[in-house]
Symmetry: C2
C-alpha cells in the first residue's frame, strides 16, 4: 500500500470531492485510537464514489470508508501503515424514495439512522432499528457493521431490515441491487455478504429498507427479577402471552442502577436497589390495552416466582422515563470509566451460568461488574470498572488479560466475543484465534478475490497480512 | 468433469455409503426433467460427507446434493454431461439438540421439514417455515434453496430462521458454525452465502434453527376484495391493527376457485365465485379473542370499501377448511396441467398494475390465468393454463415465449423471476440475462474461488461454462 502522495492522487479525483483532513475524521467515540489520513474525500453520488475507488485502486492507496463514525471497534480509524484516503459518505444523505404502502424506504448511505426513522415516521411508518447513537450513526455504517440495538429481539439486526443495496466494489464497479422485494431467490446472497463486512469488501452507497406499521398499543414495564435465569423464563412467558409482541427485553444489573444513583441522581428509579431488573416493551394489537396485558403477565409471573416487584408505566411520560433510565446506563458507565467493555452474546440457556462463573472468576480482580443489555438476544454488555477509589489507569497492564478471561469463558459456552459491535480493528486477534478455521479460510479467500489489491479498509476484520 | 468410473471412485468412498441408482434419485416433482447419475452416496454423518466430497474432488466427479427432492427448478437433477454422483442426505436425519428455553433446535440436513416442525411442537414451540411439500422436503434443501412458503410475511424465509450451519465445502473441509446466537457479528456472513446457493458452493449438513413460542390465539378469515389493490390496502390496515400479528395473507384469484369447483368439488368454498379473495391468518396475544379482532378489521375494511364480503372461522375445523382450500389450489392446477408456471415477486405497489397489464398482454394468447400466492410478500404464482377444451401440448412451441413475456414484465417493474423456488437449472438463462452484471461477476468469482474444480452441482444457478 502506498501513501496517497496527495497532490497526484488528489488531482485524479472528481472535482470538489476533497475535504480538509480535520481531526473529526480521525477519531472514534471511546477516544482510545487515533487514525491518520492522507486525504479525505466526500463524494456526492455513487458515480463519484466509484471514481474515487478506481483512482485509489490505480494508485494503490488504502480506503477507509466512514459513515457517522460511531463504531466502537475502530473499523473507521486506521493508525498504522501508509496513510489511507478516508471516504466519507457525509454528502450522500438523500432520501431516494419512500413507499409507505410497501413499507419500503430507499436511503443513501450517509443518511443518519435518526433521519431514516424520522422519514418513516412522517409517513406513518416505523424503521425499527434503534441505537443510542442514532442521531449520528449513518445507515450505511449501520449496515456495514450489521448494527443491533434494542429492538433486534422483535425486528432483527440491520441485516434483517435491509431488502437491497447499491454498493461500490474494490475495483470501482457498482452493484445495483436496490430491490424492494421480500422474496428474491436469484443467486448468491451478495447483499448479506457486504452487510457486516465492515467496509472491507466494498462500500454500501444506498439501501432499500424494510419499514413496519407501528403497533397501535405500546406498553412498558420495569420488573424486578430474582436473577438472570428467572428473567429468561419470564421472557418465554411474555413471548407466549404477547404472541411475539415483545419489542424489547433489557436486563439491568444492580451495579448499573448504583452508578446512575451516584452520577445521575436526577434520573428517577422505579425499582431502586434492585439487584436484577428487566425493562420490557410490548407492541400490541388494537383492542388490547397494554397496561392490562402487562398486568396479566405480572400476575402470572409473580405467582410463578419470576418477578418480585414491578411497575407498569401508566403514561407516555412514565414510559419515556423508563427508557431514559435504560439509555443513560452507558452514559453513567462513561463517567465512571470502564477498565474493559465486552459486547458478548451467549446461548440463552448459558447466560445465568456465565454470569455466575464469570463473577466468581473475577471476584479477586478488584473490579466492579456492570452487566446489562439485550437479554432477549442473549446479548450482554459485560463491562468491568475500577473498585471504588481506584483509577482505571491502575488496570492498564491487566486490561488485556481480563478481556481474554471474559472472552474465553464466553467462547467456551458457545458464545460470541462480538455480538453487535463487529470486529473492526480491535478484535481482529480474537477472530483469528476463536473463529472457525474453515470459515476463516473462506473469508480470506473471498477478501482476496474481491479485493486483490487489499485497498478496502485494510486491517479491519482480517489482519492486513492475512 | 469425468464420469464416476464407478468401480474406482466407489472403492474410495467410506464403506457402506453407496446406494443403488434408482429412478427416485433422478426425478423432480413436475416430471419435466430426468437426471442421470453414476453413483448415489448416502453418508451417515458429516465426516462421511466430507470424505465423499474429497474423493469426488480427487476424481473430478460432479456432485449433485439431494435432500427431499421437492425442488421445482431442477437443482436436484442434472441431465447433460458426464454422470454425477448424487449425494443424498437421507440418512442424516438426527435431531441433534433442542433447547425450548432458547427457542433453538439443531437438525441434521436430511430431517424433513415436517419432522422439524413436529419436534418443535413436541416441546411446545413452533418452527414457522411451512410449505406444501413439508412432509418430504428436507431442512437442508429448504436452506440450500432459501425456501419461502406461507408464513414468510411474519417470520421470513428459511434464511431468517437459521442461526447457524455446519457445511462441507467443495474441498472437503468442514465449516463448524452451529451457533445458537441471535447476534454474532464476527466477520463475513458465510452462513447466508451458503443458504440459497442451491448446493453450488457446498453442502449444508446441519443447522441450528430459530423456534418461536406459538401464539395463544389464532384467527383466520376469508375475505372477498374488489381487487389486488384493495387487498394490499387491507394488508396495511391489518398489519397496523394486529401489531404485526398477521401470519399469512394469501391472495386467491377467481380462476383458482373455478378450478377447485370443477376438479375438487368436495372442497367447501366459503366465498364461491369471488373474483378476488384473501385468506388472512393472525396470531394474537392472550386476552384478545381472534374472532373479535378479525371482526373489528372486517367492519373497518368494509366501511372503507376494501372488503365486500367475508367469513371469519368460528372453529378450528372451519379454520382448517380454509387452509385446506388454499393448499389444494396447486393440486387443482396440477390436474388441469399448466402451460407455464411463474414464481414471481414484485414491489407491493406494482402488483395491481402488473396483474392488469400482464392480463391485457396475454388476452390474445388463448390461456387462462390462475394468479394466487403470498401477497404479503409480493410473491405471486402466476400460472397459465390452456383455454377450455385445449391441451397443454398445443402450447409447447409458445411456452418459452409466454414465460419470457411474463418475466420481462416482472423485471421491468423491479420484480424477480424467482421469488422463492430458486434458480436451479431451469432459470440459469433468466439470471444471466436479468441479473445485475456486477453482482453476477461477484457470484462467478466466489464460485471459482470456493469451487475451482467446478464439482459442486455444476450447471445450477450459474451455467457450468461461466
Amino acid at each position: 500500500m502506498l501513501n496517497p502522495a496527495d497532490e497526484s492522487l488528489g488531482a485524479k479525483l472528481p472535482e470538489g470531492v476533497l475535504r480538509p483532513v480535520s481531526p473529526a475524521y480521525l477519531e472514534e467515540p471511546r477516544g482510545r485510537y487515533l487514525g491518520h489520513a492522507g486525504l479525505v474525500a466526500a463524494p456526492r453520488n455513487t458515480a463519484e464514489v466509484a471514481a474515487v475507488v478506481r483512482a485509489c485502486a490505480e494508485a494503490r492507496v488504502a480506503i477507509v470508508p466512514r459513515g457517522g463514525g460511531t463504531g466502537l471497534v475502530s473499523g473507521q480509524v486506521m493508525s498504522g501503515g501508509p496513510a489511507p484516503l478516508i471516504l466519507s459518505l457525509e454528502r450522500m444523505t438523500a432520501l431516494r424514495g419512500l413507499w409507505p404502502e410497501e413499507n419500503v424506504l430507499l436511503a443513501e448511505a450517509g443518511m443518519s439512522l435518526q433521519a431514516v426513522r424520522d422519514a418513516a415516521e412522517g409517513a406513518g411508518r416505523l424503521f425499527p432499528l434503534s441505537l443510542a447513537s442514532q442521531g449520528t450513526a449513518a445507515i450505511g455504517g449501520c449496515l456495514a457493521t450489521n448494527a443491533g440495538g434494542v429492538t433486534a429481539l422483535r425486528y432483527g439486526t440491520a441485516r434483517a431490515l435491509c431488502l437491497g443495496i447499491e454498493a461500490v466494489l474494490p475495483d470501482g464497479s457498482i452493484i445495483h441491487d436496490l430491490k424492494r422485494l421480500r422474496k428474491d431467490n436469484t443467486g448468491y446472497d451478495i447483499r448479506d455478504l457486504l452487510i457486516g463486512s465492515e467496509g472491507t469488501l466494498g462500500i454500501i452507497t444506498a439501501a432499500s429498507l424494510k419499514l413496519v406499521v407501528p403497533s397501535p398499543n405500546i406498553g412498558i414495564a420495569m420488573l424486578q427479577v430474582p436473577g438472570p435465569e428467572a428473567a429468561l423464563t419470564l421472557l418465554s412467558l411474555a413471548e407466549g402471552r404477547m404472541a411475539g409482541g415483545v419489542t424489547a427485553f433489557e436486563l439491568i444489573g444492580g451495579q448499573g442502577l448504583a452508578f446512575l444513583a451516584e452520577l445521575l441522581p436526577e434520573i428517577r428509579q422505579p425499582l431502586p436497589g434492585a439487584e436484577w431488573s428487566v425493562l420490557i416493551e410490548v407492541g400490541l394489537p388494537e383492542g388490547l390495552a397494554p397496561e392490562a396485558a402487562l398486568e396479566g403477565l405480572l400476575i402470572e409471573a409473580m405467582e410463578r416466582g419470576l418477578v418480585t416487584d414491578g411497575v407498569i408505566a401508566q403514561s407516555g411520560a412514565q414510559a419515556a422515563g423508563f427508557w431514559h433510565l435504560r439509555e443513560h446506563i452507558p452514559e453513567a458507565n462513561r463517567r465512571v470509566g470502564a477498565v474493559a467493555s465486552h459486547d458478548i452474546s451467549l446461548p440463552l440457556s448459558e447466560i445465568a451460568g456465565f454470569i455466575r462463573d464469570a463473577g466468581a472468576a473475577l471476584a479477586g480482580e478488584g473490579v466492579r461488574i456492570n452487566c446489562f443489555g439485550h437479554l432477549g438476544d442473549g446479548n450482554l454488555h459485560y463491562n468491568l470498572f475500577p473498585a471504588p477509589g481506584r483509577m482505571r489507569e491502575e488496570y492498564d497492564d491487566r486490561r488485556k488479560a481480563l478481556s481474554e478471561l471474559v472472552h474465553a469463558m464466553v467462547v467456551e459456552r458457545g458464545g460470541s466475543f462480538s455480538a453487535e459491535h463487529g470486529v473492526g480493528r480491535v478484535k481482529v486477534g480474537e477472530l483469528a484465534r476463536w473463529g472457525d478455521p474453515a470459515r476463516l479460510t473462506v473469508m480470506r479467500a473471498i477478501k482476496a478475490t474481491l479485493d486483490p489489491l487489499g485497498i478496502m479498509n485494510p486491517g479491519a476484520v482480517l489482519s492486513a497480512a492475512d
